[in-house]
């Protein structure tokens, strides 16, 4: 029996809903070549994962519901096209910023279509308002939300190809075999997908039933695949926003205020700036004074020469300690635990987590061409529909007149959930009446760009003997801005109620949906409150979890010590989720937990459960003087994480090679947040203005030994990947540091309160000068 016959006759195909469900409705759409489609909401958990409750979507789109459905909903379909050159193309309604979703999506299509991965071309879709909730990239939901609909569309395409081949060969479909982009029939009959694409095209939209491949028959999914855009990346061909050539979109930059979110009143030396070499246009917008010039270098010179009268920003005069005090005042108290036995004891600790920048290497940038009757925008956008609506409102055009192109981003880490550059570029283009290529200077991207809000987290663990009675955590944060909503304007407006109230509900929803404590405490209560809406914040990779889990795991280690157990043994005894236990055991074994360590060095271990998956991390840290006294020019040394062993159970790993890369990145994020990277607020603005101030992990602090274990598939459905590596890594580094030094830190990163490791760059001018000594630094 061929693979195909097996598929079509499988009994599980009849099951409505559930993991085993494989029968769905797809569409073949009218076209000159084969275009197959599925509803993008099909089987999508995106709504639930983003905090809005709803039924399992798979149930909504049950096969039976579609029978008798006379009206074909085309507006929100996503389509796989089979081209006459034998390739397939797909415009993914998500944003690629390095997380590897274009590659994993191509793999999913290749799998279902039986086409080589190299013949699947995945691009990023323009803003499509009709997709409503389904064009947000965040919360590591891309693959969990698109896995089924993309497979359905690809399966519908394959079905149409088989139909066309059956007609061509004069045989029945069950006698055909599709493999590697070729359909084979009896007696050596063969046709490539390219040859069949035209015949398989439909003259009208039609509904088709499809049966998805059994996971046991996967040949592509689950097998490591290198990134499809890797060659472009290593040859310089990969194109980011500022690499695009749009006619007349000249380099444009903005001079910003010396206090955070200060606003311009007047440019005092406009005529001088206008005469500077290369300068073409000047415009004042709400965020600063914009200049358009022949080169970005000339923009930098003009910004530095500007004398501007500024209105102070809303946090003028404020410093870190003021915010800490605010957070303490807003902290929800930990309630008394009821019915506690008389001999019960508790461990209680509170931790401060400082502001951290989610600035990517590719700074905020956008190209905008705003005309009287239409506008066109190019930018790396994770919420392009919300961006389109906000831009339309700001420039006074109907939303349908604003074309928004989603460009590949050079990293996001949460930054591109918002569209600050796209909105600003649109305003500048309108004010100048010309196309602009806006790029934020690094100093602006660091100081004014969005960041992970400062937070405090108080944890109390109550126990009696070896019985875990209660785990309580009160997490208090400067507001995390969620005003991008679910990527479209309806929910964005809902989050924008007065006094931050709308946003707080949203935040608490996200917190509740992402916070899980897998330990066996009889009672668990984790609550969150937010305060202060004046900062430029956003989610940062893994949102609340790195802080929440670091606080939690440090207290778990203290609890283990009270009970005379080592951190691994304690976790092994008090975790019951088998997936968490399996990753814990995997790192303990591969990372040699408990091996002899020299004084000043130690191991630390931590676990985390999120994104329909489980992770564990074991680190070794060296806190001896030879590391902490390292002299690093324009950087910091500090304790060195020397070895990391990390394990992830992602349910169904689509691309283990990409998943490993995401974990490696998450490990470096965890190290940075525990040890070195933070923003200092001093007198109304942030100090850090570039990579010689803001200490993200560098080669001299990255672990020389890293091992990532991707667990075999456990659930049959893919979990999240992009953010899954951070929380356990940060917590494990913190736990290792506490064990190596014998001191549990009370704030993170651990170097935040020490002496500054850099000279603060100027605020007026707001960006540093371009050096001239580059030829003296060659090697």
């Amino acid at each position: 029996m061929s693979l195909l016959e097996h598929d079509l006759n499988d009994d599980t195909a009849a099951e409505p809903g559930g993991i085993g469900r494989r029968s769905f409705v797809g569409y073949v759409l009218a076209g000159t070549t084969l275009v197959a489609a599925a509803d993008v909401a099909l089987g999508s958990p995106a709504r639930a994962a983003s905090g809005v409750s709803g039924p399992q979507i798979a149930d909504l789109y049950d096969l039976n519901d579609f029978v008798g459905d006379a009206c074909l909903p085309t507006a929100n379909l996503i389509t796989v096209t089979v081209n006459q050159d034998g390739t397939a193309s797909f415009a993914l309604p998500r944003s690629e910023n390095g997380q590897g979703i274009t590659t994993s999506t191509a793999m999913i299509i290749a799998e279902e279509l039986d086409l080589p991965v190299s013949k699947v071309h995945v691009t990023l879709a323009d803003a499509r308002p009709e997709l409503v909730f389904n064009q947000l990239t965040g919360g590591s939901t891309t693959t969990t939300s698109t896995y089924t609909p993309i497979r359905v569309a690809a399966a519908a395409a394959k079905g149409a190809l088989l139909e066309a081949a059956a007609a061509r060969f004069g045989t029945e479909q069950h006698r055909l075999l599709a493999r590697g982009g070729v359909v084979q029939g009896p007696n050596g009959a063969k046709a490539t997908y390219g040859e069949l694409a035209e015949a398989a095209a439909s003259t009208h939209d039609r509904q088709v039933e499809v049966t998805l491949k059994d996971t046991g028959d996967f040949r592509v999914i689950g097998v490591g695949q290198n990134r499809l855009d890797a060659r472009d990346a290593v040859t310089g061909k990969k194109t980011f926003t500022t690499d695009l050539q749009v006619k007349d979109a000249l380099p444009t930059m903005v001079c910003r205020a010396p206090t955070l979110n200060g606003t311009p009143r007047r440019l005092l030396n406009r005529s001088r700036i206008a005469k500077m070499p290369g300068v073409r246009d000047i415009a004042i917008v709400d965020t600063g004074v914009a200049v358009r010039a022949d080169t970005f270098g000339q923009c930098i010179d003009a910004v530095r020469a500007m004398r501007v009268d500024w209105a102070p920003g809303p946090v003028a005069g404020l410093s870190d300690q003021d915010v800490v005090n605010e957070l303490k005042a807003a902290e929800l108290p930990l309630a008394a635990v009821p019915d506690v036995p008389p001999l019960a004891q508790s461990v209680e600790s509170s931790f401060v987590f400082h502001f951290r920048s989610n600035s990517a290497l590719d700074t905020n940038a956008a190209i905008a061409d705003v005309r009287a009757d239409r506008a066109e925008i190019w930018s790396a956008l994770k919420t392009p529909i919300a961006a389109q609506a906000a831009i339309a409102e700001a420039i006074g055009l109907p939303q349908g007149k604003v074309a928004v192109h989603v460009v590949q981003g050079g990293g996001s880490f949460g930054r591109r959930l918002f569209f600050d550059a796209a909105l600003e570029a649109a305003k500048i283009s309108k004010a100048m009446g010309k196309p602009v290529k806006l790029m934020w200077h690094r100093a602006d991207d660091a100081r004014v760009g969005r960041m992970h809000p400062m937070a405090i987290s108080r944890v109390r663990a109550t126990y009696s003997g070896r019985t875990l009675l209660a785990f309580q955590q009160s997490h208090t944060s400067v507001e995390t801005d969620w005003r991008h909503g679910l990527g479209e304007m309806l929910t964005a407006k809902g989050a924008d109620l007065p006094g931050g109230l709308g946003n707080l509900t949203f935040s608490q929803g996200i917190f509740a949906m992402t916070t899980v404590l897998p330990y066996d405490f009889a009672a668990k209560a984790q609550v969150m409150n937010e305060t202060d809406t004046r900062f430029n914040t956003a989610a940062m990779r893994n949102v609340y979890s790195p802080d929440v889990r670091t606080a939690g795991e440090l207290v778990i280690d203290q609890l283990a010590a009270r009970m005379g157990l080592d951190p691994y043994q304690f976790r092994k005894q008090h975790l019951s989720n088998p997936r968490v236990l399996a990753v814990l055991d995997a790192v303990a074994d591969a990372g040699q937990w408990g091996r002899s360590m020299k004084p000043g060095t130690a191991q630390g271990i931590a676990i985390h459960e999120e994104y329909k998956g489980a992770t564990a991390c074991l680190v070794e840290i060296d806190c001896r003087n030879k590391q902490t006294k390292r002299k690093i020019p324009d950087g910091v040394g500090g304790p060195r994480v020397t070895r990391v062993t990390f394990a992830i159970d992602a349910g169904l790993p689509i691309n283990p090679r990409g998943l490993e890369a995401q974990m490696q990145g998450g490990i470096n994020d965890g190290i940075a947040q525990a040890l070195t990277s933070s923003m200092h607020l001093r007198d109304g603005h942030f100090l850090e203005a570039s990579w010689d101030n803001y200490f993200y992990t560098r080669q001299w602090n990255t672990p020389p030994k890293v091992r990532v274990i991707v667990m075999p598939a456990t659930t049959g459905t893919p979990g999240g990947a992009g953010e899954a590596g951070v929380a356990a890594s940060m917590a494990a580094v913190a736990c290792a540091y506490a064990r190596a030094t014998g001191t549990v830190p009370t704030y993170f990163p651990i170097n935040h309160d020490g002496p500054l490791h850099f000279k603060v760059k100027s605020y007026v001018p707001p960006i540093p000068p371009s050096p001239v000594n580059g030829l003296k630094k060659t090697y």
Partner: protein
């Protein structure tokens, strides 16, 4: 406006621009050579790392007027020209091939600079009669905000063996 002449990826180029515009913007904004990326503009992120006469330099920190007519500037686009074996390697320098083999790039923004820095580092270490050690890798200043450092280290080890 002064004429600026130098050799870019093997070909003489002439641009009309003021002396003090940094080479990065001449490459990107005037010549459309976008492999070298902007990441800081002050020579600390190293995303624009390219080669001048075979050595690593950062064009964000060099005035175009300071280039000589005979200076060879090589960007990632011209790197394969610096390798004799590139033709049989599908037009890639061995370090680029190592980057592919180790699937290093995530977002890819820093990687042209990383590769150019890696090639220069290997050459530097060779001039000193040594092979690459962990300490040399620790000294690389190119930032990768995606945190692809582990694979960068593995790829340099491979690339250095094939250069």
């Amino acid at each position: 406006m002064p004429k600026q002449t130098f050799i870019l990826n093997g070909k003489a180029v002439t641009v009309n621009v003021h002396d003090d515009v940094r080479v990065l913007w001449v490459l990107r904004d005037l010549l459309g050579v976008t492999g070298p990326k902007y990441g800081c503009g002050i020579n600390v992120c190293k995303a624009c790392t390219s080669h001048i006469n075979g050595r690593a330099f950062n064009p964000c920190s060099v005035r175009v007027g300071d280039l000589e007519k005979t200076d060879h500037v090589t960007t990632i686009e011209g790197l394969p020209r610096e390798s004799k074996g590139a033709a049989e390697n599908g037009g890639l320098h061995p370090m680029q091939q190592a980057w592919l083999d180790h699937d290093v790039a995530q977002c890819g923004y820093c990687q042209p600079g990383q590769i150019m820095a890696a090639v220069a580092l290997v050459r530097q270490v060779r001039r000193e009669g040594r092979t690459i050690k962990d300490k040399d890798l620790d000294g690389i200043r190119n930032i990768c905000r995606c945190g692809s450092y582990t694979r960068i280290r593995e790829a340099i080890e491979q690339g250095s063996r094939h250069m």
